[in-house]
């Protein structure tokens, strides 16, 4: 028989646990309300500081933007957009190391993200780490871009080509530019023009000329301008003149095109071997070149304070001057005798080359045209 008093109902285990559950539920609800209120406040503060950071960054106050984005992240700790903006602000503030650290954190979460890879590539490029920059540029080119992937990849590749050019890595730049041209659809005229321009810049002039030629119908002015430039670089002055003139006719007005056209025309004007001109005209060009070469020789000697009329001649310039004096330029003979024209022009070219060596390349004018002819063999059209 049990003499102990009966346990009150409220001391029963089941009742106790029911009470504990009830208290927990009430406390949980109260905490939920408190937390929700705080989270709303946090969200509002995060948005506020993000907007402030954006404004700071837009107005060029990168340091302030960094602090603002950090504050925004305090209230929205893992927000990838905030983290990205903070990293961009750090980069804008020239805090390369910290920006790299932040982008690497983002990158670790999404190693294939095109934007993160591109930003890292830029930062490493800025930090003089070309190998890492190239690695991230490549990752950006083949990375994941949520919207407009083709455009972003193309832009990343263009930027990479420019980076390679700045790093004097022309072979890789040419390869990337060629890949860019190959990957650009035929219908993307602007893209193809950009690719052709890059090919030209990287020194792959043949491919550049081909690209421009292919675009002549679609975009006559820009393509003709590019093709003219490429032809000029390839010393195809007649083609250059044709393309550049077309460009000018189609409305291209930039001074560089006009200058190239003038120069190409000048080279053609001095070329005694140009097709479809009379023998008299050839003789006249040889005669003009002869006089021009003599003047150039004397001007250069004056600059170098060198006597030319010395017997016997001891220097190259004295030797050339002696030859120049002893050469008889008879207009009739020149018109009749192609060999004489060639021998006079040979002397002219030797004088232009020697004076360029002594006094530097002439920047423009007839001597520049003659030197160009000299360097491209015996005339551009032969």
């Amino acid at each position: 028989m049990n003499d102990s008093p009966p346990t009150p109902w409220w001391r029963n285990d089941a009742v106790i646990f029911a009470a504990l559950v009830l208290i927990a539920a009430i406390a949980f609800s109260a905490t939920y309300i408190v937390t929700s209120t705080y989270k709303r406040r946090e969200d509002s503060l995060a948005r506020h500081w993000y907007a402030v950071g954006d404004a700071s960054l837009a107005s060029g106050r990168a340091k302030e933007a960094v602090a603002d984005f950090r504050t925004a992240l305090l209230y929205s700790r893992d927000n990838p957009e905030f983290r990205l903006r903070l990293a961009e602000a750090l980069a804008a503030d020239n805090d390369t190391q910290q920006a790299i650290a932040y982008f690497l954190n983002l990158w670790e979460e999404q190693p294939g993200n095109g934007l993160y890879n591109l930003q890292l590539a830029r930062l490493y490029a800025r930090d003089n780490q070309p190998r890492k920059a190239a690695q991230y540029y490549n990752a950006a080119i083949f990375g994941i871009w949520p919207d407009n992937p083709f455009t972003h990849r193309r832009e990343a590749r263009i930027e990479y080509v420019k980076f390679l050019l700045a790093s004097h890595d022309n072979p890789n730049a040419q390869a990337e530019a060629l890949s860019l041209a190959a990957a650009t659809p035929a219908s993307d005229i602007a893209g193809r023009l950009e690719a052709a321009k890059l090919l030209l810049t990287t020194g792959d002039i043949d491919h550049a000329l081909n690209e421009y030629r292919a675009l002549l119908k679609a975009e006559p002015a820009e393509a003709a301008k590019g093709a003219g430039t490429a032809a000029f670089d390839l010393a195809e002055y007649r083609s250059a003149v044709e393309y550049l003139r077309t460009a000018v006719d189609k409305g291209v007005t930039d001074p560089q095109t006009k200058l190239l056209l003038a120069r190409a025309q000048q080279v053609l004007d001095f070329d005694p071997w140009e097709r479809h001109i009379t023998a008299d005209a050839r003789a006249k060009r040889v005669s003009t070149a002869y006089v021009q070469a003599g003047d150039r020789l004397q001007q250069c000697a004056a600059i170098k304070q060198q006597q030319l009329a010395v017997i016997p001649p001891t220097t190259d310039m004295q030797q050339l001057y002696s030859e120049w004096l002893s050469t008889t330029v008879d207009f009739k003979k020149l018109a009749q005798n192609p060999d004489l024209r060639d021998s006079v022009m040979d002397l002219v070219f030797r004088i232009e080359n020697a004076t360029a060596l002594q006094c530097g390349d002439p920047p423009s004018g007839p001597d520049w045209a003659l030197l160009t002819l000299a360097r491209n063999g015996e005339g551009v059209e032969r």
Partner: protein
């Protein structure tokens, strides 16, 4: 101020009530206690969530919502908060001074688990105000005390047995700490290492349940992300471990300076006239605010966001070293002025800065050798935790849990061990014990407990000099064999059951002729001991027996020696004269 008066239970607290536990069997109470632990975890988790949010609200309203705090509020906010906190501590909540770890320990060892509920309320308000307004203290130790107090209050309300009421405070402490750190394993280990001091199966289950349930609650409200986002960690080469060893040395020295500074300055401030204690937290706050105003606001508050920044190489090594030094000074001022708040976060902050600085310097000197600065910062946190708080095991798991990164276990163990050994050899008394002694309490030192050698049966037993008699031999023969034995009590072996009996020679002689020894044996066999049993446990089995056989575990019929009460006492006496190192 001593914590004793406030933690002593009121005389009516347990009197005149039948403990609820008394109504249940032992097994039922165990089950009830386990279930109760889950509720303790939930309550503690909810309380800690609210505590953390209150700190954040306070920070926003006192220092402003920007991370880049500027202007005079940097000085005014902590100073005014210091004044308010001092008034509350002096007039309303005198038991809330300090970090909370020692108060929980004293509840366990001095006041049978009693912590007044008022302490939790006071700790909540005062710590939130102080930390939120910029005092250089952390929320973890207060969370631990809040959890312990809630558990203690619940235990009293449910009128648990005395034993369970005592143990319930550490259960709540583990729950509170787990929620604060978002790290259940570390919380369990810390409470075992620092509060209870021993592994006990009875309490371990409850602590684990409470810690896990509190973390689940905290994660529900605050998110499950680890406290720190650590960059990918990889050890570049084994030589890099040397760098971590150096970090261990630096951390050991830094923790030593930190502990010495607190141990030296606290009694000085406490000894000052009582009226000055109203102003000490305010002055400390003003000085810390001035440090912030002069360009180092990172030392204000708990500083977790700055630890994160240090891990991401956002400070130069020079700035990191300055921050570590300033944090030591700021925390010392806040803590010794009597402002309630914890030392976990400051220790982690100092460790993170020191670690990142060491990483930065080593990067500079040996760029080929060293890995990411974030790794060093993380290891540095563990180093300070091990060396300053003297919780080496917790420190390892804490680093792993707060980072969610298990790849750095080897550097963590290496650096922590070195720092712990340096700190221990240069300051034998751990900081928590220094503080309790300054408060006039004599709580058990967990480190000493861990180090204390255990006396075992093999240390006290002696060889048995008499013949081992068999129960199935003739009593006359046995008496003859034992005639010349120096042992007053003879041991008899009953092989079939592997039992041992004690019998006096006289009893043997008085046996009827031709009877077996078995006929004169007592009914109850002797308890048996094994050489590896702790002497404390053996002592209980000796009760009522003149001699107890010590047998081999592999062969219970093989006698290794005997143990007597006298031998035990002699061994204890000898151990007292030659204490264990």
């Amino acid at each position: 101020m001593s914590t004793t008066p406030s933690t002593t239970p009121p005389p009516t607290a347990t009197a005149a009530v039948v403990p609820l536990g008394a109504q249940r069997s032992a097994g039922a109470e165990e089950r009830f206690f386990l279930l109760l632990s889950i509720f303790i975890g939930v309550y503690a988790g909810l309380a800690v969530v609210c505590f953390r949010l209150t700190i954040e609200w306070t920070r926003i309203y006192t220092l402003g919502s920007s991370l880049a705090i500027t202007g005079p509020r940097l000085i005014i906010a902590p100073a005014v908060a210091g004044l308010v906190v001092a008034f509350l501590v002096m007039k309303v909540f005198p038991a809330v001074r300090g970090s909370g770890v020692n108060q929980t320990k004293s509840a366990l060892y001095i006041s049978n688990g009693y912590i007044p509920l008022r302490t939790a309320i006071g700790k909540f308000i005062c710590s939130a105000l102080a930390i939120g307004a910029g005092h250089s203290l952390g929320p973890e130790d207060p969370s631990l005390q809040i959890g312990a107090t809630l558990a203690s209050a619940l235990g009293r309300r449910l009128r648990l047995s005395r034993e369970k009421t005592r143990l319930i405070a550490p259960v709540g402490a583990a729950a509170g700490l787990a929620a604060a750190f978002n790290a259940p394993i570390s919380a369990v280990l810390f409470v075992i290492e620092e509060v209870i001091g021993r592994w006990s199966a009875g309490i371990l289950g409850s602590i684990v349940l409470a810690a896990v349930s509190s973390v689940v609650v905290a994660r529900f409200f605050l998110g499950a992300e680890p406290m720190f986002r650590v960059p990918t960690v990889s050890i570049i080469s084994t030589e890099e471990l040397l760098a971590y060893a150096l970090l261990g040395v630096a951390g050991g020295i830094a923790s030593l300076i930190f502990a010495k500074l607190i141990g030296w300055s606290r009694p000085i401030l406490k000894a000052m006239p009582r009226w000055t204690q109203y102003f000490q937290p305010a002055i400390a706050g003003a000085i810390i605010g001035t440090i912030g105003y002069l360009g180092f606001p990172q030392v204000m508050g708990a500083g977790y966001e700055y630890m994160d920044q240090a891990m991401h190489s956002q400070f130069t090594w020079q700035v990191l070293l300055i921050l570590a030094a300033l944090k030591i000074a700021a925390t010392t001022m806040s803590f010794t002025s009597g402002t309630p708040g914890g030392m976990f976060a400051p220790a982690l902050f100092i460790g993170a800065m020191l670690g990142a600085a060491t990483g930065g310097i080593e990067h500079l000197l040996l760029p080929r050798l060293t890995g990411s600065v974030g790794t060093y910062a993380l290891v540095g946190m563990g180093v300070l935790f091990a060396a300053f708080l003297r919780a080496p095991l917790t420190s390892v798991f804490m680093v792993l849990e707060v980072s969610g990164n298990y790849s750095i276990i080897i550097p963590v163990i290496l650096a922590n061990t070195i720092a712990y050994l340096i700190s221990r050899s240069m300051q034998p008394t751990p900081i928590f014990e220094v503080l309790t002694r300054q408060d006039g309490l004599l709580l058990p030192s967990m480190e000493e407990q861990r180090d204390a050698g255990v006396l075992r049966v093999e240390d006290a037993m002696r060889p048995y000099a008499g013949p081992t008699l068999e129960s199935d031999e003739l009593a006359e023969v046995a008496a003859e064999r034992a005639a010349s034995s120096p042992e007053p009590v003879l041991l008899v072996r009953r092989g079939a059951y592997a039992q041992w009996f004690a019998i006096r020679r006289d009893t043997l002689r008085s046996a009827p002729p031709h009877s077996l020894v078995a006929h004169v044996l007592p009914e109850e066999p002797l308890p048996v001991l094994f050489p590896d049993i702790p002497l404390e446990a053996a002592l209980r089995r000796l009760h009522g027996h003149e001699v107890v056989p010590v047998v081999n575990r592999g062969d219970p019929l093989k006698l290794e020696g005997v143990l007597t009460l006298e031998l035990v006492l002699q061994t204890y006496s000898k151990a007292r004269d030659e204490p264990f190192e």
